[in-house]
Amino acid sequence: MRQSKEFLVITFSQTTDAMAAELLFRDLCVPGRIIPIPRQLSAGCGLAFRTEMDQKQQAQQALVEAGIRWHEMEPVRLLV
């Protein structure tokens, strides 16, 4: 079986918010990248931001300060 690993996954209710978060995280050097939304968090389609588990506080604070809405921020095991 392929290996998997736990990531912190942040979901958004629309793509515009995901794009804003991507820019913000790039500016603040929060590691990670955009992925398709995993089914554990939403059946359907859309984008999410995947980062390392230890980034939770920084990511959350950055989003709040920038006024970017997110939907969920959860640990998810993903294929690597």
Binding site: M1, R2, P36, I37, P38, R39, G44, L79
Partner: protein, 379 residues
């Protein structure tokens, strides 16, 4: 990148399309707004585009070709503008949200009664069942020509024979089939044909439209500038102006015009044959891999160039992500804006990874995609 997401939009366009857009952006005025050289060039280019669309789809009148920014807009105009309140409408499980949502809205806001022709586990419709849904108060059948999820083709001509003598409006979503499957509105009995310019038609995004059969009345969704009859209070009643308030995407339509030249010269059959060959080759490769489940019915060779699958119990999003990051292969995961089809196929939870092929894909690319799926599926 190996681009296999052509059902979402074609990324490789003929060079002539790109050149036409660049040329238009340096020479076009506003169509139907004045008579200087630039404005006339825009008017002429757009009229030529109407003629080519009419030719491609067997629409008798170029002035009944209306341009919109995509098929979603065309479907909204058609569904909201041609279906009377409180009437009965039939649609299918295969539909995209651009059909479903405007219909659900009519149901909620205008008392329209909606019935669905069901898809089986392989995503096929039973047209006899569909015919059985017709009632005396049925006013419209809205149906896709080709499923964006499985590539299933619906026998529109057969539905056209059901609607013709009953005075039922037949509105067809040709978003996936336009450019790869022959369409003849007259022969197929289509009243309104909605298309998008950026998929199989190989044009720029922001182009699309509808072909309207003579005598079909559609109430405009928008009112506004038209460049003609300026002192009238309301939108002119003549097509296409009736449904085209505001400046058209002339630059995009110039590109679509060049794309239509390319398609008409190459031939829809030729393009479709190659795309189907690639999809079939891919299907044959992946369907033999242990742990791969392909959706849809492949016994019928007359199908769209789309193959949707899942690998083991993996989330389709993760598989698509691995394909992108590790193999540089572009596919689409998740739900494909076709919720009822996912219910029929049993893929609501897992979604599906969709591989969709275009005229510009090659057998080598297809082989690489098969190999990537094989590696991902390795236990």
């Amino acid at each position: 990148m190996i681009y296999l997401d052509n059902a979402a939009t074609t990324m490789h366009k003929p060079q002539t399309v790109i050149d036409a857009v660049v040329h238009a952006m340096t020479s076009m005025g506003n169509a139907s707004r004045g008579a200087h050289t630039g404005a006339l060039e825009a008017s002429r280019t757009i009229y030529e585009t109407r003629r080519k669309i009419a030719k491609l789809f067997g629409c008798k009148r170029p002035d009944h070709v209306v341009f919109t920014c995509n098929s979603t807009e065309a479907l909204n105009i058609a569904i909201q503008g041609a279906i009377p309140a409180k009437s009965h409408v039939i649609t299918t499980d295969l539909e995209h949200n651009s059909v479903l949502r405007p219909l659900y809205r009519l149901k909620e806001e205008s008392g329209v009664c909606l019935d669905f022709a069901r898809a089986d586990r392989q995503g096929r419709l039973d047209l006899q069942e569909l015919e059985g849904l017709i009632r005396p108060d049925t006013k419209a059948i809205v149906c896709t020509h080709m499923s964006n999820l499985t590539g299933e083709i619906v026998d529109i001509a057969r539905i056209g024979r059901m609607t013709k003598d009953r005075g039922i409006l037949l509105c067809v979503d040709a978003s996936q089939s336009a450019g790869n499957t022959p369409i003849d509105m007259e022969q197929m009995g289509i009243d309104i044909l909605c298309f998008t310019g950026h998929k199989g038609l190989m044009g720029p995004q922001g182009t699309g439209g509808m072909c309207i059969r003579e005598g079909v009345e559609i109430h405009p969704l928008k009112e506004g500038g038209s460049g003609v009859q300026s002192y009238r209070h309301r939108q002119p009643v003549e097509y296409p102006t009736r449904l085209e308030a505001g400046t058209l995407n002339g630059h995009g339509l110039a590109g679509l015009s060049a794309a239509l030249d390319y398609i008409l010269e190459t031939g829809v059959e030729t393009i479709g044959r190659k795309e189907r060959m690639l999809a079939e080759h891919f299907y044959e490769g992946v369907s033999q891999i242990e742990g791969v489940k392909v959706y849809g019915c492949f016994e019928d060779k007359n199908r769209g160039p789309v193959v949707a699958l899942n690998v083991r119990e993996y989330d389709s999003s993760e598989v698509s992500d691995v394909l992108s990051v590790d193999y540089d292969i572009a596919t689409r995961p998740g739900a494909h804006c076709a919720p009822r089809m996912h219910e029929a196929l049993g893929t609501v939870d897992q979604g599906a990874v969709r591989f969709s092929f275009s005229w510009f894909n090659t057998v080598e690319e297809t082989d690489q995609a098969i190999e990537a799926v094989r590696k991902i599926a390795l236990a």
